[in-house]
């Protein structure tokens, strides 16, 4: 159970990185990725996955 980022649609704004409560999102050479081992889809933490909730491009942070 984890989220992933569709890199081709990502604007690399980085909002998801600092909203993630699990520090599961990192950036390497401008490409943001979610570590599935750390991602909880915000279950028990928030009403909805924070990355998808803040992301400015629809359907870019999606369940893996």
């Amino acid at each position: 159970m984890a989220m992933k980022i569709i890199a081709s649609q990502c604007t690399a704004c980085g909002a998801c990185e600092f909203e993630c409560p699990n520090a599961a999102i990192s950036v390497k050479r401008g490409v943001f990725t979610i570590d599935p081992k750390l991602c909880t889809e915000c279950n028990g933490q928030f009403d909805s996955p924070q990355c998808a909730t803040v992301c400015p491009v629809d359907n870019t942070c999606v369940p893996a």
Partner: protein, 488 residues
């Protein structure tokens, strides 16, 4: 220089009797107020070098934006955050996003090369208050290296109240809040959603929260004596009739300046408004809304809606001249050029102010009821100093017996000599609608003839004069009592 006769002359006294009567009527002479007369000295000290906050300063001083804070907490229907193009000039558009460390190097490189630089702004894409850590780190680093650079930021206001104390602590003296509405029902047509307290809100609920946070942030800033400019995007059919209410509300809460900007909308931009065919306002519609706000919060009329990575005087953008790849890793600040420039400008501004006063006197003494629009080609310094064919924008002033008043600028897609030629000229003529005369440093015969045929006079007789002097002299030559006496 032969001028065509405009209908304006029909309002003028044309008989010798009328002119003699005009000469006898007492003149109301006001003592010359120390310009700028409408701004208290303490406030003037804070804004005099800020090209966005002071119309006078924008002739002399340059700003620089760095795109370090790309994350945003709201979605606006006029914004598409995927967009990135070096040919586009509008807010929210950049070619490179920078880390705070890269931004530091770029700012130093620009400060070394652009002596007019006086202001550093963080203005998107994204929100400087929401992406606060990067904003703060950038400002902290540069404040140490170049302490006299003024810091300012732009925000949608949603996260603003959380950072007002830090903004005050960091001496960020100028904050711009984009406020497009004070009525959430209208807001719902502009903002599809906001991200607040870990939730996404939509519709009227979203705009209600945004509105409350904007007003709270504005009040908190003005309570701390921080200068606040409010930007509003004029969206015809949505908030055009509402912006005078916005003006009154933000004035009540202490906003210093209100900048009403036309919506930029094009399907190619991929914004919601672009794709749904929402149009932007015409220059006349923009001026009508601005005029409806006269008497409220002061209006900014010289905004160029610059890119979020713009560098230079407002009339030019050198943002592409300083790609981060061209800047060395270890760069140190050299204040020589900026200091030399400031010394020259201090003298020049005094001189310019006297010239402005003289122009106001010349206009008043012309005793004419003509009210005309004059377009000027300038490349800074407050002078008529640009070749017509090189101008990519014209600054438009209104001249009347009341004085010279800056109205705004008219952008043209391509200059006449910039490869645009006759096609460009058609666009220029369209952009100059309502203008009586174009003053420039030089103009070729061919474009001059075509402009005259379109009812727009041109003159390079005032080349290199201060703009106000040139307009004052033109007006006196054209409409002054001596001229009228000759015609009678």
């Amino acid at each position: 220089m032969a001028f065509f006769v405009s209908l304006d002359t029909l309002d003028q006294p044309t008989t010798a009797k009328e002119i003699r009567h005009a000469l006898k009527s007492p003149r109301t002479r006001k003592s010359p107020a120390a310009p700028p007369s409408d701004i208290p000295p303490a406030l003037w000290e804070r804004i005099k070098d800020h090209p966005c906050y002071s119309e006078e300063a924008h002739h002399y001083f340059a700003r620089m934006h760095v795109a370090v804070a790309p994350a945003c907490n709201i979605q606006c229907n006029y914004c598409n955050r995927k967009y990135d193009c070096s040919n586009e000039s509008r807010p929210g558009v950049v070619s490179e996003k920078l880390t705070p460390e890269e931004a530091y190097r770029k700012i130093i490189a620009v400060a070394n090369e652009v002596p007019q630089l006086s202001v550093l702004g963080i203005a998107g894409p994204g929100d400087a208050c929401y992406d606060w850590r990067k904003t703060k780190e950038t400002f902290a680093r540069i404040a140490k290296a170049v302490p006299d650079l003024k810091l300012c930021l732009s925000t949608n206001g949603l996260a603003l109240p959380d950072h007002v104390d830090e903004i005050a602590d960091m001496n960020i003296d100028h904050v711009t809040i984009t406020i497009n509405m004070v009525d959430p029902e209208i807001g719902a047509k502009i903002y599809p959603w906001i991200f607040y307290n870990h939730k996404r809100y939509t519709g009227v609920e979203a705009s209600t929260i945004l509105h409350e946070r904007q007003m709270l942030g504005l009040e908190m800033l003005t309570a701390r004596n921080i200068l606040v400019k409010v930007n509003s995007v004029l969206i015809p059919g949505i908030n055009d009739a509402h912006l005078s209410t916005v003006n009154a509300e933000v004035k009540k809460r202490g906003a210093f300046l209100h900048n009403i900007m036309p919506l930029i909308s094009d399907p190619a931009h991929g914004t919601h408004f672009g794709l749904t065919g929402q149009r932007g306002p015409t220059p006349a519609e923009l001026q009508a809304v601005q005029d409806a706000c006269e008497g409220g919060a002061n209006l900014m009329r010289h905004c160029r809606q610059c890119r979020a990575d713009a560098v230079g005087l407002l009339c030019q953008d050198r943002g592409q001249d300083f790609p981060i790849s061209s800047i060395p890793e270890d760069i140190t600040y050299d204040p020589t050029k900026r200091e030399a420039y400031r010394a020259v400008i201090a003298r020049e501004r005094d001189d310019h102010r006297q010239a402005k006063h003289a122009a106001a006197v010349a206009l008043r003494d012309a005793e004419s009821s003509a009210r005309i629009l004059v377009a000027v080609a300038t490349q800074g310094g407050g002078r008529v100093n640009q070749h017509f064919g090189h101008a990519k924008e014209f600054q438009v002033y209104e001249a009347s017996a009341a004085g010279v008043r800056f109205i705004g600028h008219r952008k043209v897609d391509a200059g006449y000599c910039g490869g645009g030629g006759d096609t460009a000229l058609d666009g220029i003529i369209k952009a100059l609608a309502g203008v009586e005369v174009v003053l420039c440093a030089k103009i070729g015969e061919c474009p001059q003839e075509k402009l005259v045929a379109a009812g727009i006079a041109t003159s390079d007789a005032y080349a290199y004069d201060y703009i106000e002097s040139a307009i004052g002299d033109y007006y006196a030559d054209r409409y002054g009592l001596k001229q009228l006496a000759l015609r009678a």
